[in-house]
Symmetry: C2
Subunit: 183 residues, 2 copies
DNA sequence: TGCCATACCGTCCGAAGCAGACGGTATGCA
DNA sequence: TGCATACCGTCTGCTTCGGACGGTATGGCA
């Protein structure tokens, strides 16, 4: 059913399934605090996508009449069914990376000698910082049963961050021997 | 200089810098064999983007008159300068992940009990397969000095794949105890 | 009570990204 | 000669994207 939905669609459906009836603004904040860490969605889509889903009958909209023209969306039975079908079906696509740093590293032959070291240093710092953020979240929500099941993706995020950190650190070691020791 | 280029622009610029003068078709194949593994570009853009870059003076186009209307692009001085400036400048963005499997995992509460195990099994297989591909590439080009510098990104790719494999394997262990042992 | 600053919230638009259909060209082999 | 297949480029319609913009509620201070 339903033409074929995009990942964005399922983020909307799924977030509403987890939180209950929500406005676009609610979605925006919820996504910003969770999925947004590994998959970026421009907030404009969290306004347009629910409208589309409502037209498809997967969501039900209720518009406030006074004050802000705020719209609250709730899941329909069809919406929940669509979401569950998606969760149950195979996932053929391999993940994609979108890492500007990796791109730069690939073309490093074209650049100047110091470039790689500078890049590596930056990346080490960035990944360390991100790891701190994740560990903080993990600690904060450690014993909140309500979100325990969601927090599991944090572990994946941490694995990835550590892998990246390991890579850039060792690259830095290899490359920083002697040359360009300046911060 | 130049409004501000997209990652796609730098992929085109960079690939031409590495390979020398190229047609869009050349770019398509070269990208498919390298960067395409971690960052997907639809081939149509490898036709339109060089045209834009030529208008900006970063590339120089030469069109064949007979047979196929093939266009060969070569880097201008401005193009090389732009590329080198990009390589030298800081990289503020953190990588993005786009992993459908991670999305499904995040919403697993909504699904049925067997879903996570099935997902994990799939992912383990997929990452193992990808690791095999990468290791094969690594072995094949191990002693080709010409591409050694590019192959370093493969190491990063492998680190990432291993991290993902570790995560999904251990998740599978945790979740597959007793329930749903069917392939 | 009126005014301002600031957070809150939603819409719009132009540009870029994207998938894939389509159509034309060269090559090889029956 | 004719067909199959690989090679190569273009086009179209749609979605995604970033960010500017504009309106609305709240609280504090004059």
């Amino acid at each position: 059913m339903a033409d074929r939905l995009s990942p964005t669609s399922y983020v909307v459906l799924g977030t509403i399934a987890l939180r209950g009836p929500s406005t676009s603004y609610d979605l925006k904040r919820a996504v910003g605090r969770s999925i947004g860490y590994f998959w970026h969605f421009p907030h404009a889509q969290l306004y347009s996508e629910p409208q589309r889903l409502a037209e498809l009958g997967l969501l039900e909209a209720e518009t406030e009449t006074e004050g802000r023209r705020r719209r609250t969306y709730r899941l329909t039975e069809e919406g929940r069914a669509e979401l569950k079908a998606w969760l149950a079906e195979p996932t053929p696509e391999h993940f994609q990376m979108r890492d500007i740093a990796e791109l730069k590293l690939f073309f490093n032959e074209v650049g100047e000698p110091g470039d790689v070291a500078r890049l590596a240093r930056e990346q080490v710092a960035a990944h360390r910082e991100r790891i701190a953020v994740y560990e903080d979240m993990q600690a904060r929500y450690a014993d909140l049963d309500a979100v325990a099941k969601r927090m599991i993706t944090l572990r994946l995020g941490l694995e990835m961050e550590h892998a990246a950190l390991r890579f850039w650190s060792s690259l830095l070691d290899e490359v920083a021997d002697g040359i360009d020791e300046t911060a």
